[in-house]
Symmetry: C2
Subunit: 343 residues, 2 copies
């Protein structure tokens, strides 16, 4: 048995200010202890990483926060981490054994030692594409839409960044329960995907709309009941006057703001009072207890063809930094992920 | 019987842009039909106005809205209207008779013909100061605090414009149920009122705090569970980073913004996501069904001395325009109202 193993990984090179660039990350190879055995007495699990997810919130973790944020900051010199799909190589934990397929938080590297295996979820539908288990967009969409927005049949739903990992699922769930759904995206290709593959009632390219508020008035002459917020900033400002009385804004993310030194100011908040709106933020971590219910329901939709899922997969860790950056330039189409190893 | 009666009234002179000024209103006297009888067949009620309320939302009604707002715009040349306390002079409606004391929406004038008397509420505790029935701040505070904020004993509550009509009641209700309450106001006199008369745990003069975010961190080292929002703009921006996970923002009003041509931008909305905040607007009109429950409860608190109420009363309609403007310069101390006739 080799005394050490080789492990390729993506590290944060320095804290990031402004626009994320490839120079902020580095792909390195390190030697690590042998992976096939877990030290005696440890309950750790060693995993081989198959897929890792690229998610906008990672940008936030690359900034140093004086006041701690909701997730810990990445540390320069250390490996990046996010949700991934993994196969267990060796286990000191009674719930896992070599060969198991799991998903959860892991490193952006070939192999990771997971010291808190209680955080891992089993993959109960391994016949679905394994990559579909990469990360939380499905549960994020499911929990955010049903638990936060509290939709009713026939309501008008607007989704920004609608072809993204979360948006595409929210839109299809909204269609399943009988809502009227319009999405915005940043290219004609994405708009076409929304209208054909995902079955949205309508969709538009926000880059071609000089007056977003007027565009929304056109797409929603009756107003918007539910806005699924993924972008923030001026999109939110355009949405607020178009909301209906008692509307709900599920605040999932505000990707337009993450690379700005100073966020854009949102000016139309007074509509929250006059239209009695509820704007509520949520994080998928709060809904882990719903996970297995979600998994079963979504697996059924996927098998029945009621939900389609579009991914944008890059191959290998060397391509990972650029893949993450694509999220912020909008060049990904669908859920962005990295295939580290295909089995 | 006189052929006509004289009726002094405050009319809107022109639509208002920017800062409200006395020139935007005019006090006129008109001749009206005799008041002692209601035309045969009419269900109208004629009232003598005793007190009318000055409320910040009236500013919003003085602007012409292309898209209708939640209340109708005032019309140049016509009388202003708002909540008031009135005595019925004559009635064509079976539920009301001459001499009854009522409150509800009325004109800023000596006498008003109320064509929809169903909108009036009876005054069930006439031994309380009648002026306490002027308008909705009490019910606004009660409904906004209990229904929207959903407070729990021991929670940390921050109230802006805390010595105002609504703020003073919210703070005292929060104290009654065992919250820790801090208020901000715009003068040392108001701060002293908050700490002594209203029993807030603490209070500060926001004009003396160059860094409001740091001030809030000082007053709430553990963070804020509930923010009762009366002012908007930069105060909201300072509050957001100080909110605790799962905090609630009851959006009652945003008075700092009403006189601005362009509202200030609020930059820290991303905390709504990361701290899973709920920000919810409400209008008192949605809580009318709670009114009589509120009236009984509040009457008890007032009689038991558990709630104090500070009013800023000006005498006569000639003083009404200036009284309304005081709200926006912060020169009122407590609930601003106009005594039209004292009985």
């Amino acid at each position: 048995m080799a005394a050490t193993a080789s492990n390729k990984r993506v590290i944060l090179k320095r804290y990031v200010t402004g626009l994320l660039s490839e120079d902020d990350m580095e792909v390195v190879t390190t030697e690590v202890p042998p992976l096939a055995v877990v030290p005696a007495g440890s309950e750790a699990v060693v995993v081989k990483n198959l897929y890792v997810s690229c998610d906008p919130y990672m940008r936030n973790r690359m900034t140093r926060h004086e006041v701690p944020s909701y997730v810990s900051d990445f540390i320069p010199g250390e490996v990046l981490a996010n949700f991934g799909v993994m196969r267990v190589i060796s286990s000191g934990h009674p719930d896992f054994k070599a060969g198991d397929l799991v998903w959860g938080i892991t490193g952006w590297e070939e192999y990771t030692v997971i010291n808190n295996p209680e955080s891992l979820f089993r993959i109960n539908h391994p016949k679905l594409p394994l990559s579909y288990y990469t990360g939380m967009p499905g549960l994020t969409a499911y929990a955010g839409f049903f638990e936060v927005s509290k939709p009713k049949k026939g309501e008008y739903v607007f989704i920004s960044a609608a072809s993204g990992a979360v948006g595409q699922i929210v839109g299809q769930l909204a269609k399943i329960i009988g809502c009227y759904v319009v999405g915005s995206a940043g290219s004609d290709e994405k708009v076409s995907l929304l209208k054909t593959k995902f079955g949205f009632n309508d969709a538009f390219n926000y880059k071609k709309e000089p007056d977003l508020e007027a565009a929304l008035r056109r797409y929603f002459p009756e107003g918007i009941d539910i806005y699924f917020e993924n972008v923030g900033g001026e999109t939110l400002d355009a949405v607020l006057p178009n909301m209906r009385l008692g509307g709900r804004i599920a605040a999932c993310g505000m990707i337009s703001q993450y690379n700005l030194e100073r966020p854009e100011g949102v000016k139309n908040l007074f509509y929250i009072v006059t239209k009695r709106l509820r704007m509520e933020g949520f994080l998928v971590f709060d809904f882990y207890d719903r996970y297995y219910q979600f998994e079963d329901e979504m697996a059924r939709y996927l098998k029945e063809g009621k939900v389609a899922y579009v991914e944008d997969v890059v191959e290998g860790l060397d391509a990972a930094p650029a893949a993450l950056i694509k999220l912020f330039t909008g060049r990904n189409v669908g859920k962005q992920l990295v295939a580290i190893a295909r089995e």
